[in-house]
Subunit: 130 residues, 4 copies
């Protein structure tokens, strides 16, 4: 938890959890061998967020070290969903859970089916931690 | 939409919608005569977010002017919920919808029933725009 | 001052002043009849920041209303400089001062002289407040 | 470089460099055995930024890995200064340089001389990388 991620309540502002979710899925994708940067730059595929949900269980404070566990739930057609559990690294206690759902679109902005090569890599993806 | 709120897709990053939701409920509360700052500073009541959900309908681009329409749905006991509709100011087309649910806690960190005076003011609150 | 702009010291994090500086120059440019969005979209000219300096005089707290006074100091060749004074709206007391210096580059990424039409408009620009 | 740290120019927004500077000094302090969190929580000493300067040499793009080299220049009396060099991790090319100057204040908000124990630890501090 970085200093400017805290607010005057002394805890991490709830909007930053969406950034941490993003770190989780970024590292999960990197671990599968297809980084999100490559997906955009080489495949011309973008994953705009169409829905997000987060439940906050316990506050996160400055300099806390957090684990982000990410799971890809479905990657069929032109829709991808990631599920997240954020917990404290020291005692594993839960901090937040949530999911994001993404459209898969091409450079033109139209929905695009994920290439089989990408789907195959995702299918073998495990949890991504930070 | 501020410049640093955009990302390399050229559109507002989805995490900033949570900040805009917050602007919506802040202005709604101010309009009822009990600003969120007063609630914290005078009443010692805080509204940490316990759940958030957002659906993104259309991208928001740099310098777009957006309207945030906020509605308080329930304010009973120690739980408050706000619902949001964000739309483009020029043509009213929808950009995003969502809600946040808040606990009402006191300085000690324990759930606190909202004072009747605050509940009464909220009951008369209308939509807040920006 | 928005809630997530505060940090656990209870004041606005110093990095947000750079965002407010940007609001100042954006509104100043809009007031001259050439918005920054138009400059990018129509003229293909970008103003990346090459240097920034800020001095912090007094803290800014949540929900404080601030004035941003912006002055364009030189707009010759391919270099632009803006100077900022941020003060409290209620009593005018100073909060921060600073400047940003910008290169003027074209879509190719190379330094580009500002069109005379833009320079002329800037020359007549007054202070921009928010 | 995180995704939301980029802007529609496709590069990291200049305001995030101040956050990265902060990561640099945080890790430098942690390396000296006195984390910034401890300084605040145990010693009751805060380091508000009184001046910042940054020069941007080259853009930083999404997913770039950056090194932050931090040096503490003076820690005498109630004033601390950190100097930063940010460079690309892959080829060491410079991205930005800058400094921050901090007041040292106590819980009361008044300038406070740093304890000798802290000064001594800082005196032995080396570069902090990330």
């Amino acid at each position: 938890v970085r200093y400017p991620e805290t607010d005057r309540m002394g805890v991490a502002h709830h909007s930053h959890f969406l950034v941490w979710f993003e770190l989780g899925r970024t590292e999960l994708m990197r671990a599968t061998g297809c980084s999100y940067r490559d997906l955009e730059d080489r495949e011309g595929i973008f994953f705009p967020v169409v829905e997000v949900q987060a439940r906050y269980r316990a506050p996160a404070r400055y300099d806390d070290v957090l684990d982000i566990s990410t799971r890809m739930v479905l990657a069929s057609g032109a829709r991808v969903r990631f599920e997240y559990t954020i917990s404290r690294a020291d005692d594993g206690s839960p901090v937040a859970t949530g999911f994001t759902e993404h459209a898969s679109i091409g450079r033109s902005g139209r929905p695009t089916r994920l290439p089989d090569s990408v789907l195959a890599r995702f299918a073998g993806g495990g949890p991504g931690n930070r």
